[in-house]
């Protein structure tokens, strides 16, 4: 598999450089650019098409959440990981709403950061299951209220099955085991699903599926 291409957007040089030095020691991760505010980040993504964008919320001009919204509108295949100082519900909901795959607290250790990037790339979950459930529940509620039931036409049955298991918080190896597939095949299926659904991460795919009414909250809990 190719190296995971990452950009870093943070207005603090010190933090940006720190993050970069953390990631550069990893052989499977390549930092392909840096931005010092939201606007630069949006431009950078449209230029280099990274797999993952690490974006800080508090940035001048355009803040991280707005930048994420724009990135996802222009280039949905890029998964956005938000670096935030605050982990309250309002922030998490807002950033997921904007299309982020997940978030990380800014003082995360190196391992957590690297693992999160790898997970996003592999189509794994990056949200803590408890938080994920809370967020999904909220989305399921709004979908049911809206009464949208558009059946998936673009996804195959197998893909739908995998998505459903993913929504039920199963990891890639667990899905592989249950369906008697290799991990690599599961990862490939997820990649196809993301592409077909025009999203960049498992979180986005599940939220989108909930929004479209493909499955209900009962399917994922």
């Amino acid at each position: 598999m190719d190296k995971t291409r990452v950009i870093i957007a943070d207005d603090h040089v010190l933090v940006r450089q720190g993050t970069r030095s953390l990631l550069e020691t990893e052989p499977d991760i390549e930092v392909v650019g840096e931005a010092s505010d939201g606007e630069e980040a949006v431009q950078l993504v449209s230029q280099v098409h990274p797999d993952v964008a690490l974006i800080d919320i508090a940035m001048p001009n355009v803040n991280g959440i707005e930048a994420t919204r724009r990135i996802k509108a222009d280039y949905p295949a890029t998964a956005v990981l938000i670096l935030t100082a605050y982990d309250n519900d309002q922030y998490i909901l807002a950033l997921l709403d904007a299309g982020a795959a997940g978030y990380l607290l800014k003082n995360v250790g190196k391992n957590d950061l690297v693992n999160a990037i790898r997970a996003v790339r592999a189509g794994e979950a990056v949200l803590h299951p408890a938080i994920a459930r809370k967020v999904f529940a909220r989305y399921a509620n709004t979908a049911e209220q809206a009464g949208e039931t558009v059946l998936p036409q673009e996804l195959s049955e197998r893909e739908m099955e995998i998505l459903r298991l993913a929504a039920a918080s199963m990891s890639n190896p667990d899905i592989a085991e249950q369906l008697h597939l290799s991990r690599r095949t599961v990862q490939a299926h997820l990649g196809n699903i993301f592409r077909k659904m025009d999203v960049g991460s498992r979180t986005e795919a599940i939220l989108e599926a909930l929004k479209r009414g493909w499955f209900t909250l009962d399917d994922i809990v």
């Binding site: 603090h12 720190g18 919320i57 508090a58 959440i65 309002q90 922030y91 800014k106 003082n107 190196k110």
Partner: protein, 651 residues
């Protein structure tokens, strides 16, 4: 019968009758005939006999009435019969005619005399009756006169003691009694006070100078309003008239006015038998006259006090009115100026005379005129004016002054005397207030800027350095460096400390200026406040949004957020509420935030000055904050019924 026999007139009549009979039969009895013939009487025997016969008949009729006369005539006729029947046979016819004639004359005489007597008797009876009536009239006249005298004497004065004294004197004069007294009710205690007395022993006066209602005879009379008559007073213990053995009957009557019993009047008569019933009537009437006089005097006294008080309060008002620093206009119901004080002239620049020629409405600017008229009509209906109203007034030199207007009705004895308008010049006050508000705006702005600056600094510099530090520590602990276990343990400790410092810095920064408001807007910020309240204090909080949700001007969002923060801070500090509901309505041209709690509530003073007095400075601060973005804030609460704050900010 015995009585008649005893009557000497009967015997005289019988004697004369006998005499007549002797003369009649004298010629038949020789002895008597000689005596009679020789008697020197110039009349014939028959004439004498006829006179002597008619006299007893008349006499009997006179003394015994018609029956007596008739009886006498019959008796004499019977005495004549033997002559007609036995003696003179030749003259028999003549004799019988004579008897019949006599009988007729006798009866006639008897009838005439009797009739005359009866007429005389009837006249006598009538005369007697007339005399009696005259007596009664005289008596009544005397009583009336006495009452009149009592009335005129007691109406001469308003002094109740004087009335009692004069009345008693006159009553004793009229009744002829020597002992008398008057008790008058004490207005405050209701006791009876001995106000006038005559002929009472000093011991009695001492012992009974004050009597409670219902106590003693006087107290009972005053209590029940019925007169009392005691025939033999000296034996009655209740009377307490020691040493007056000779006291006869006692009469006590109430002093009754139209509405109340004002006291008692009593007299004690001498030992001689006297007619108590006529005295009682007179006394009762006197009691009423005195009662009415006392009532009248009390009323007059009351009136006098009221008049004095009125005069005093009028003088006081006049003084206050003239010297008041606030302009006071006395107006008619349609606003015509009736009277003004000196301050009015100073305020308006018009002279007294100029002001009296106009209406108060002419003094106010056109834009506030409706409000002025409303105040006036409101005052006429006796509505209470709630807040002071700020109005613009035009002076004589056409400059404007800002004033506060209070209108209240002027009443005297429930009669409207017009309206009183108190006008206070607040131009200077207003200018100061505007300056103050300007400063408050500036200070608030500077304060918010400063908070933002510090919050940013903490976030941008301090926090970032700490993040770097934390990462460096993390890197030091990585396996590659192969540090000894003890060092890693200490590094881990340092790492954790750094984290908690970072957390502290973040919280501090959020408190100063919640980034959530700037990053996400008002609704998530309010939801954050609500979830915080629920998490930290267990107060169930709900946020509901209506209307078209959107971002507002940053100052408006900040003001609304700060006010909500203050309200929720009050909720958790004072209300003891268990739930809070926040409703935010994004209306077409304004945003309305309503926060309701189910707590214990509190008394909300209406006036701003009272808010200061009651220490509700928070409310003032919030109102001020709302005003800075053109909004209004209304606090509704009451003891025990929760609190609702409504904030409206126009866009």
């Amino acid at each position: 019968m015995k009585q008649i026999l005893k009557n000497p007139h009967l015997w005289i009549i019988l004697a004369i009758m006998t005499g007549g009979a002797v003369f009649y039969y004298a010629d038949q009895i020789p002895m008597i005939r000689d005596v009679v013939d020789r008697a020197p009487i110039g009349l014939t025997r028959y004439s004498t006999h006829r006179i002597l016969s008619i006299i007893p008949v008349a006499y009997a009729a006179l003394v015994f009435g018609f029956r007596g006369g008739t009886t006498a005539a019959i008796v004499i006729s019977l005495a004549l019969l033997p002559r007609a029947l036995v003696i003179t046979a030749s003259e028999q016819g003549e004799a019988i005619a004579e008897i019949i004639a006599f009988l007729f004359i006798g009866l006639l005489v008897s009838w005439l005399i009797d009739r005359q007597l009866k007429t005389v008797y009837r006249l006598e009876v009538t005369q007697e009756e007339l005399r009696g009536s005259l007596q009664t009239i005289k008596q009544q006249q005397q009583q009336l006169f006495s009452l009149y005298t009592i009335s005129t004497i007691i109406y001469r004065t308003l002094d109740i003691g004087e009335i009692a004294k004069n009345a008693l004197k006159e009553v004793l004069n009229v009744t002829g009694a020597e002992v008398g007294w008057i008790y008058v009710e004490d207005n405050e205690t209701g006791d009876l006070v001995l106000s006038a007395h005559q002929g009472l022993s000093p011991e009695f006066v001492n012992a009974a100078s004050r009597v409670k209602r219902g106590q003693n005879l006087d107290g009972q009379v005053a209590q029940f309003g019925k007169p009392k008559v005691v025939d033999k007073a000296s034996h009655d213990f209740n009377l307490r008239l020691p040493g007056r053995e000779d006291t006869g009957a006692i009469i006590i009557v109430p002093l009754r006015s139209r509405i109340a019993i004002r006291g008692t009047l009593g007299i004690a008569m001498g030992n001689q038998h006297d007619d108590t019933s006529s005295k009682l009537d007179l006394l009762t009437a006197s009691g009423e006259a005195i009662g009415i006089a006392i009532g009248h005097a009390l009323l007059a006294l009351e009136q006098k006090v009221i008049t004095q008080q009125l005069q005093l309060s009028e003088e006081l008002y006049r003084g206050l009115f003239e010297n008041a620093s606030e302009a006071i206009f006395i107006c008619s119901s349609i606003g015509r100026i009736i009277s003004v004080n000196r301050a009015c002239e100073q305020l308006t620049g018009y002279s007294n005379q100029e002001l009296l020629n106009t209406t108060i409405y002419n003094l106010f600017c056109a834009e506030g005129l409706n409000e002025v008229k409303q105040l006036f009509s409101g005052a006429q209906k006796e509505e209470t004016q709630r807040e002071d109203t700020e109005l613009c007034l035009i002076k004589k030199d056409r400059t404007e002054a800002y004033v506060e207007l209070k209108v209240s009705p002027l009443q005297r004895a429930d009669e409207s005397m017009g309206l009183q308008a108190i006008v206070r010049d607040i131009t200077e006050e207003r200018r100061l207030r505007q300056n103050m508000q300007y400063y408050i705006t500036q200070i608030t702005r500077v304060q918010e800027d400063e908070r933002l600056r510090i919050s940013r600094e903490l976030h941008d510099d301090t926090a970032q350095v700490l993040i770097s530090l934390s990462r460096d520590l993390d890197a030091l602990m990585s396996d590659e460096l192969k540090l000894p276990k003890a060092a890693i343990k200490r590094l881990q400790k340092l790492y954790e400390t750094t984290d908690s410092v970072l957390e502290g810095i973040r919280r501090f920064s959020q408190d100063l200026r919640p980034s959530i408001l700037d990053d996400l807007g008002l609704v998530p910020a309010l939801e954050w406040l609500a979830s915080d309240l629920e998490k930290e204090y267990g107060i169930k909080s709900e946020v509901s949004i209506t209307g078209n949700q959107r971002r507002l001007q940053p100052e408006s969002e900040l003001a609304i957020f700060r006010i909500a923060q203050e309200i929720l801070s009050n909720v958790k500090k004072h209300s003891q509420a268990s739930t809070v509901e926040m409703t935010m309505d994004f209306g077409e041209d304004a945003l309305t935030l309503i926060i309701t709690d189910n707590g214990q509530g509190f008394y909300v003073p209406q006036r701003t000055s009272d808010l200061v007095l009651y220490g509700k400075l928070g409310i003032i601060g919030m109102r001020e904050r709302a005003r800075l973005v053109g909004g209004t804030l209304i606090v509704q609460s009451d003891m025990g019924s929760g609190t609702t704050v409504t904030l409206r900010v126009p866009e």
